[in-house]
């Protein structure tokens, strides 16, 4: 048996039809797209993911990538899959029509990326990195560069990479050493070594376009002296045909824990020709413009991993016969009952299910706000949408990728020993999911972004985009009888979040280490409350649909919601206690004490 996955189309369509429909009409009106089209696109993408990408997920992990004479070969089936994917136009989903894309809503793109990540996270990185490169170029580069590179990237004929990390420079990009020396013709020569470059070299596309952070000779020290450059593997002629090879190479590829079908490359730039993107010394600004999108998409990877973990584990739990239900046997004709009868198994399955479904709604809503911010004419509404996205980005990136790890681990637990051995492909899910909390800004850094940047930004205006919305919702619905199992719990957790927010803001002013210490717990609390809000809204919607619910879809939503509100949301209580007790127990812990247990 192998990994089990069918795209959760019903759930996605529920979100499109019932959950984000209150605001998504704005988007449809502004483009040539209708709700029906979205569903057709999802159906077609699902086929591609289930029939082409899923079957090469396990084999790709086992075979991995190989580097020989500077050339990286991808595992069997990846070339064909990439051809299928790009020839059918999927690289261009949200790219501007001007460059050959379809300019479709961002929230739709999130659904598509989720399916891709579920069915083959390694594969998804190739087009994923290209999408990041497209966004960075579109938002920062000159018209000439856009016209030369974007059509080829949007079609997938060329692919893209992001080169930030160096051996001495991970989180702290101010430590960048790669040097870019200006040339008379306006180009630059780049010299230096980048590490951990996803898809830095491979055999899927005809050219690879590297976006590289580097310093110019007289640049200011640290983060203020970083610029962004475009450095193609093969230098294109002005008509887009391929010219000479650039002087750069892939020195080696990492042996690593997971996503083995995607190469993680050491890239050497040896006086390679590049061109400046955006303004000199404003490389970080250019990166930040695309960072929201990239971080949301890593969150989507976490969600995708949780979904395939859930479906595989559920399938197994129904088939695996062990032990008897404590409440009388359920399958008397069999030697034992399916393990789905055991309370612990049910609890864990529901934990994954309610976290993924809740996150999916939170992400769809956030994706929609990205779309709204793009088209909204009203200044206040636009700002509100932007604020929501900036606030939710670290929360989604971090929490969803943590859920990806927890869910895949729980899936192994549900499979027992059969999850730990390789045959079923479940341990692969754990290994693949594990990178997502690390790259694109570690989850610790996301939490600091939330507490250190987003919280104080514009004197708390970003926080308001969330707190006001929920407050209004609570005021409107606190006497909604249908929601009697939901509102009190939502209100309680919301109040806790408010209280903790005030505490961190006050303590942080006195001692930044206090705020930093609480950051990860605070982010988790924020995520739990946000998802509690989503589940309450699901329930509200579902109660109104019960009269036409042949399959029990809406009934199930309500029941799932009750599980979330009573079993998972209460964790906000323990997180609050921990935060309110302050950070001294570790910040002031004597450094000498750490190694007393083993020091000789």
């Amino acid at each position: 048996m192998v990994q089990i996955y069918k795209a959760p189309l019903k759930d996605m369509k529920f979100l499109i039809r019932d959950f984000i429909n209150s605001e998504s009409n704005k988007i449809y009106k502004n483009s040539n797209i209708e709700q029906n089209d979205l569903e057709m696109i999802l159906d077609e993408a699902a086929k591609l993911c289930e029939e082409i990408l899923l079957p090469i997920n396990q084999s790709g992990d086992i075979e991995g990538c190989k580097l020989e004479h500077g050339i990286v070969s991808t595992p069997k089936g990846f070339k064909e899959a990439y051809k299928n994917f790009t020839e059918n136009g999927w690289q261009g989903v949200s790219v501007n029509e001007k460059y050959g894309g379809q300019n479709l809503p961002y929230f739709l793109n999130m659904f598509l990326d989720e399916m891709i990540s579920s069915s083959n996270m390694s594969f998804g990185l190739y087009p994923g990195l290209t999408s990041n490169a497209i966004e960075a170029i579109e938002k920062n580069a000159s018209e000439d560069i856009k016209n030369l590179y974007l059509p080829k990237l949007a079609s997938g004929e060329w692919s893209g990479t992001m080169n930030l990390t160096e051996p001495q420079c991970g989180t702290d990009l101010g430590l960048t050493k790669t040097m870019a020396t200006p040339q008379k013709d306006g180009s630059y020569k780049l010299t230096g070594t980048k590490i951990f470059i996803t898809c830095g070299e491979h055999d899927l596309s005809k050219n690879i376009i590297h976006l590289v952070l580097a310093k110019t000779p007289n640049a200011p020290k640290g983060i203020k002296g970083i610029s962004l450059f475009i450095v193609p593997k093969i230098i294109p002629n002005s008509d887009g045909t391929l010219g000479e090879n650039n002087s750069l190479e892939c020195g080696s590829i990492e042996k690593k824990m997971g996503i083995n079908a995607s190469p993680t490359c050491v890239m050497h730039y040896n006086e390679a020709t590049g061109w400046l993107i955006g303004d000199l010394n404003k490389g970080m600004k250019a990166m930040f413009i695309m960072m929201n999108g990239a971080r949301l998409m890593v969150g989507v990877q976490g969600l995708g991993m949780a979904e395939i973990a859930y479906q595989s584990a559920l399938h197994y739990a129904k088939e695996r016969l062990q032990g008897r239900s404590l409440n009388g046997s359920k399958s008397l004709d069999k030697q034992a009952d399916p393990i789905l009868v055991h309370p612990e198994i049910r609890k864990n399955l529901l934990k994954i299910k309610t976290l993924t479904e809740g996150l999916r709604g939170l992400m769809a809503w956030t994706g929609l706000q990205v779309d709204i911010a793009k088209i909204e004419k009203d200044k206040f509404n636009k700002q509100n949408a932007d604020d929501w996205v900036s606030l939710m980005t670290p929360i989604i990136k971090s929490f969803a990728t943590d859920v990806g790890c927890e869910a895949t681990n729980l899936a192994v637990q549900i499979y027992g020993g059969h999850g730990y051995i390789k045959d079923h492909g479940i341990e692969q899910l754990v290994r693949d999911a594990r990178i997502a909390p690390i790259y694109e800004g570690t989850n610790g850094i996301q939490a600091l972004d939330l507490v250190g940047r987003k919280m104080p930004m514009h004197t708390g205006r970003l926080l308001k985009s969330f707190f006001h919305e929920v407050k209004e919702y609570i005021e409107k619905n606190s006497f909604n009888y249908n929601l009697k199992d939901f509102m009190p719990l939502l209100i309680k957790s919301y109040t806790r979040l408010q209280q903790v927010t005030a505490f961190i803001a006050a303590e942080g002013l006195k001692d930044p280490d206090e705020a930093a210490g609480a950051a990860v717990d605070y982010l988790k609390m924020f995520a739990l409350v946000s998802i509690g809000y989503v589940w309450t809204k699901y329930a509200e919607i579902s109660f109104n649909k019960l009269n036409n619910d042949p399959e029990g879809f809406y009934k199930a939503k309500i029941e799932s919601g009750k599980y979330y509100m009573t079993k998972l949301l209460p964790e906000t209580g323990s997180l609050m206690s921990s935060i309110l007790s302050g950070a001294k127990s570790y910040n002031k812990y004597n450094d000498e004490y750490f190694d007393l247990g083993f020091k000789i």
């Binding site: 069918k6 189309l9 040539n32 209708e34 029906n36 089209d37 057709m40 696109i41 077609e44 086929k47 591609l48 299928n84 020839e87 059918n88 136009g89 999927w90 261009g92 989903v93 379809q102 042949p550 399959e551 879809f553």
Partner: protein, 250 residues
């Protein structure tokens, strides 16, 4: 240059586990995933390949049924067909009514090739193509697994019980497609978006003056009885005994 007419039917998706309605009046289709009948996809694919080889200039997809059948036409258009014709009719049209409607459409559109699936996976009738061929008095090639066109002759390989049969027929002709004919393409994203702009002509069975009232009375639909549990036999002679006396198959 010739036109190709492809008939496509909206059926319950092949992945869906069929549920019988509790009153036995049919199978549940409400809230159930519906798709294009699989061999009809082969028919669309083949039509597109003929067009791409330069031997035809237009591919028309036709669907007959309730309003939702237009979604199936859209699927065909998204695969690359040029235009759609939707004939509104009651849900359970029998093969003869469909063939009669198709005859009217053929008279109107004058295609040289009609491609359709060999059968629909919902009722498994496997009749419409044959009936249509008789009505329009064109040659037929059923269960096609390979097609080649040379001028106005069609070389067809047919999947039959004995193996493969190769025949030659003249155009115009009706061809029903087997799943082995080709591998249907995925609809590309640009084509899905383009499909929105392609025309779908809407007609109705009444417009065409075809009486679609059923000639067969449906009495009851029920689930097949559950399979009995298998048994292990100890040796070949026991197996032979059982096949002879219990199963009575040899």
């Amino acid at each position: 240059m010739m036109k190709i007419l492809v008939a496509v039917k909206r059926v319950i998706d092949y992945n869906v586990q069929i549920r019988v309605k509790s009153d036995g009046s049919g199978v549940e289709t409400e809230n159930v995933k519906m798709s294009m009948n699989p061999p009809d996809e082969n028919a669309v694919e083949e039509a597109l390949r003929i067009k791409e080889s330069g031997k035809a200039e237009e591919v028309i997809v036709l669907s007959i049924g309730n309003e939702k059948s237009q979604e199936t036409i859209r699927t065909g258009l998204a695969m690359g067909a040029d235009k759609g014709i939707f004939v509104k009719a009651n849900d359970n049209c029998e093969p003869l009514s469909i063939a009669k409607i198709m005859k009217k459409i053929i008279e109107k559109e004058k295609p040289q090739i009609v491609l359709m699936g060999k059968q629909a996976i919902d009722d498994d009738c496997n009749q419409t193509g044959q009936m249509l061929s008789a009505l329009v008095e064109w040659p037929q090639a059923t269960f096609a697994s390979k097609l080649e066109i040379k001028d106005s002759t069609l070389f067809v390989t047919r999947e039959i019980d004995e193996g493969l049969e190769k025949i030659e027929i003249n155009l115009p002709a009706v061809i029903t497609c087997d799943l082995r004919l080709n591998e249907p393409r995925y609809a590309s994203l640009p084509n899905i978006m383009k499909a929105k702009k392609k025309p779908i002509e809407t007609l109705s069975a009444e417009d065409l003056e075809i009486d679609t009232s059923p000639r067969i009375k449906l009495i009851k639909v029920e689930e097949p009885s559950k399979r009995k549990k298998g048994i292990m036999v100890n040796n070949v002679s026991e197996l032979v005994q059982k096949l002879k006396h219990e199963a009575k198959v040899i």
